[in-house]
């Protein structure tokens, strides 16, 4: 792992991109890293485009600004691909991970100016199968961990079970489904180019 990894999340209000960024910060923290997890608060409302950020490092992080040249971008909602310049500043050595069912040709075309790697995952299918509802953030969290290699699958899953026990202390029945969603997402994330 390089010293500092910067990740930018694009989602729509209500999809849990902010929560996912905080969970990723948590997981990285638990493996001994220095972390930042913060959303960009705009005129937040259900469905509006939102951005959240992560910095993960082996050294203390002092910078306090948004991320303009991320190593990775996560797109939680593919309708943003034609609305927001999601690959803006994204390093060509990095990757973009998209929640989508669109075909590879469409994705390559809509991101034709981006030279780095593109990954996709059907977070809706995974979420419906494992949780019975559409919560894309859990599968997307696993997808970015897999693609970025911030930690091993095993480290990640071991840590997340602890986080979910804490987060869902009042709804323990959803823990199993969330863990299944993570496991499936780790397997199903697919390289487009």
């Amino acid at each position: 792992m390089q010293n500092l990894i910067e990740i930018r999340w694009h989602g729509r209000g209500g999809q849990g991109a902010k929560t996912a960024s905080l969970l990723l910060a948590d997981a990285a923290f638990n493996t001994g890293k220095y972390i930042q997890g913060f959303p960009e608060y705009g005129p937040e409302r259900m469905g509006a485009p939102i951005t959240a950020y992560n910095r993960i490092s082996t050294e203390p992080i002092t910078i306090h600004s948004n991320i303009y040249e991320p190593d990775y971008v996560v797109v939680v909602d593919d309708t943003l691909l034609e609305v927001v310049d999601v690959a803006s500043g994204l390093k060509s050595t990095g990757a973009i991970v998209i929640n989508t069912t669109k075909d590879n040709e469409y994705l390559k075309n809509v991101l034709k100016d981006y030279e780095g790697s593109i990954y996709k995952i059907d977070a809706r299918k995974i979420s419906i199968e494992t949780l019975g509802k559409y919560f894309p953030n859990t599968p997307m969290l696993a997808a970015i961990v897999k693609v970025s290699g911030i930690m091993s699958d095993e480290e990640f899953l071991n840590d997340m079970i602890g986080s979910f026990k804490h987060k869902f202390a009042k709804k323990p029945e959803v823990i199993e489904g969330n863990m299944k969603a993570l496991e499936m997402a780790l397997k199903e994330v697919e390289k487009v180019k």
Partner: protein, 395 residues
């Protein structure tokens, strides 16, 4: 050894307040400080503190309740931001003039209008002459540490002034970052029991607070407040030294980052200092002698000490996250420059008003300031010392 944690700035402050366990907290929620009373009220409901939490109907009432309880002899804390502080305006002067060591967490946000909920320092700068001690915090750790030290400073018998701990709204208040917490029992021992010498509910020594104070005495009372503010400098250093013994974390009146041999220096406060540090490191790799002076204690203003620390620099930039709209320059700039004048320090000093209303301040912005400083040094010309950083259009 401390406890390794990851918390937002607001969570960190709420936990500090839990560990301090004050007698009274009176607060009214306002973005971006809302989470502080929210988390704290949970601690109250769970019985983790025995604080009397007063849920008031406005910030004016919050500060009024704080004044009442502190005057009665209770250790009292509150939190607010921006327009919340504005609504307290009348009462914050009363708190300081009655010499009540109330501790406030001020999560800095732009004062309306037009309506903006994001960070700048216009709230804190508005209160700079109100007689409150003002400490600024770069990150969640410093916000936490400053709150742990706050009561000891404010309640010291040579001080007896209210104190506000500032941190940047959203940028640190809502960002999860690593932090090292202090064990509960250590905080308890450090903060100590509050035993005011004079208080209203002391029936053995009846007293009045805040009676009419006209031409014959108000001037003397104000001068005493000014003396207390000067005294605070020494007390802050003493408390900080004791804090360092407990935690290993060193705090002074300001932090010097690679300042010793620095030729080009930025002076600023709060979270931007972290971004400046990163830029200083990059510039140093390229052989540029860049440095930072991060002001922690803004009130009382350590002018003499700051001037001395800047005396070896070639050019200085002072960054203000609030515009004084006075045609002359921001508050930090004016204080630094007037202190430099007193010390006969005549190096060029330039002011940048930046980050207004939450405008993001990037490493590139900071780099451009150092570039400007080098240009001023090379050309020996400083045409406009009152500038903007990150503003669109003409500057």
């Amino acid at each position: 050894m401390g406890i390794r944690e990851r918390l937002s700035g607001n969570e960190a402050v709420a936990i500090a307040m839990k560990q301090i366990n004050p007698d009274v907290v009176a607060a009214f929620p306002i973005t971006p400080s809302t989470e502080i009373p929210q988390y704290f009220s949970t601690f109250v409901s769970n019985g983790q503190v025995d604080t009397n939490f007063v849920a008031v109907e406005s910030e004016h009432s919050a500060m009024s309740a704080c004044i009442g309880s502190e005057a009665a002899g209770g250790r009292t804390m509150t939190a607010t931001s921006a327009n919340g502080l504005s609504l307290m305006w009348e009462m914050i002067y009363i708190a300081s003039s009655l010499r009540l060591p109330i501790v406030m967490s001020l999560v800095n946000r732009a004062v309306s209008g037009p309506l903006n909920i994001h960070n700048d320092h216009s709230d804190a700068m508005g209160a700079r002459d109100s007689g409150w001690i003002q400490l600024f915090s770069e990150n969640n750790q410093e916000a936490y540490d400053n709150v742990i030290m706050a009561n000891r400073i404010a309640e010291h018998e040579d001080v007896l002034l209210p104190l506000m701990v500032c941190q940047d709204g959203f940028i640190t208040s809502h960002s999860i970052e690593n932090i090292e917490l202090i064990e509960d029992e250590k905080v308890k021992a450090f903060v100590g029991k509050y035993t005011p010498k004079h208080y209203l509910l002391d029936d053995k020594n009846p007293m009045a607070m805040g009676p009419l104070d006209l031409q014959s005495y108000l001037f003397e009372h104000k001068a005493q407040q000014a003396i207390a503010m000067k005294n605070a400098k020494k007390v802050i250093l003493e408390v900080s030294e004791e804090f360092e013994k407990m935690t290993g974390r060193k705090y002074g009146l300001f932090e010097e980052y690679k300042l010793d041999d620095a030729e080009y220096v930025i002076v600023c406060m709060n979270s931007t200092a972290g971004t400046v540090k990163q830029t200083v490191d990059q510039l140093r790799e390229n052989g540029v002698k860049a440095g930072l002076l991060k002001v922690r204690v803004f009130r009382p203003f350590p002018g003499e000490e700051i001037s001395k620390a800047l005396s070896k620099a070639k050019v200085v930039a002072i960054l203000d996250k609030a515009d004084s709209l006075n045609g002359q320059g921001g508050a930090l700039y004016e204080d630094v420059v007037s202190a430099m004048y007193n010390e006969k320090l005549t190096i060029p000093a330039v002011n940048y008003v930046y980050g207004i209303g939450g405008r993001d301040t990037t490493s590139k912005d900071i780099k451009s300031v150092y570039d400007d400083l080098m240009e001023i040094d090379n050309s020996k010309k400083l045409d406009n010392p009152y500038r903007y950083l990150g503003l669109r259009g003409d500057k």
